[in-house]
Symmetry: C2
Subunit: 266 residues, 2 copies
Amino acid sequence: MMNDERSEALQLFLRILRPMEVTIFPLRDFPLINPGDDLGAILIKELQKIDLIDGDIIVIAHTIVSKAENKVYNLREITPSSFAKQIGELQDKDPRKVEVVLRESREIIRMNERVLISETKHGFICANSGVDKSNTPGETVIALPDDPDLSAQRIRNRILSELGKTVAIIISDTFGRPFRVGTVNVAIGVAGINPVEDLRGRFDLFGYEMQSTIVAKADEVSTAAGLVMGQADEGTPVIIVRGVKYSHVEASVGVLNRDPDTDVFR
Amino acid sequence: MMNDERSEALQLFLRILRPMEVTIFPLRDFPLINPGDDLGAILIKELQKIDLIDGDIIVIAHTIVSKAENKVYNLREITPSSFAKQIGELQDKDPRKVEVVLRESREIIRMNERVLISETKHGFICANSGVDKSNTPGETVIALPDDPDLSAQRIRNRILSELGKTVAIIISDTFGRPFRVGTVNVAIGVAGINPVEDLRGRFDLFGYEMQSTIVAKADEVSTAAGLVMGQADEGTPVIIVRGVKYSHVEASVGVLNRDPDTDVFR
């Protein structure tokens, strides 16, 4: 990566030439995170290798946040309930993993012999409450952080105090979608960025006032970061997204969850 | 924009320094498209102003494709059915617009006094069959192109024959999502890019074979382009996404639509 004065001059030059350009790049060779690691300290050390600038958005795969926060379950220590055993039999899955999924959930939204879609304690609706086996060694599973906004806020504050840079932090996970095949990265925790951008009241090309457009800005950024984050053996859990215009108004990632009372898909 | 030799050298320099970087930038000052315009010719003229390179993905807002293809309905020529009138009354909407929505749909998926979610003739599930009033002058509405893959393929072929560049084309629209607030750009037509990337069979960081990850690559790219495309008065309907690794295997955008028979949200 570039980390000297020439690189800063080059960045400035490019930003003048292409003021609407967004760039997305990884923190390369990011170290493996183990349970209990001080992720903030490791992240800051890695960020010092690049030319971080005010306004950058740092998108972090939730797995490394969860690991650092010990949100890892050792399946050998899990005793499945009879309900978890029933589901495990139905879906041909480890009943101990199902037990963790149920513990992390608030409500089951849909279930059959293939999928278990639940609402997590945070209000996210996703497969298996976000509990994942992939990328975990041994008989362990990773769940979502307990309070991802707080996790993001802590990292943001630390970057501000130790590096003097004002950035936004998004913690992301890959979710499937109803009706559409395939996963995309979405935001599950934010700090320093309003997760939604409300265009209502703005005017379109022909002067019509826009009636209904709310843009899921934090999801847009997360999904864009997914292009570089990769999914398999590449190991790039931290991505910088640069050049995005966004509102710094503080709001919880929870504003991205639809009100259950008015959601036609509940 | 940069379009001389210095700019090409600079691009090359950056690509060597940051091989995993993705950049997203608009075709600036893209002309307004009117019904019947030769979009391919206009696009090629604009692309000659930038340093287009092999592998670039060009994301095009469906509105300009629809306009060029005359998929614009003049509401003065629409006679609403009694069903359209009923819905119009329920939702306090112009029954002629509802009539167009119904004509563009194959099936109503959910409906109440606020929303009409339908399956389009192409198999997409979205609000109002993708029919939109915004950004259209006068009493007209814009629908989705009849065959967006074909529209994309024609543009791609023309760029190959006239500019000698092998690119991918994605035609995009902004869709709302079940469970999550806000819209994001998704792919509704593709050429030269496999809309999905199948990671099953690859191995994760710890050597576990991945079981279920299919990435919605064309949606990832579309959503990323949405960061620059903007929604309101900015008028940047054509976005270049550069540096994304993708499969050139030809497949219809329809592979992004879940099989209705196994979709738990139908």
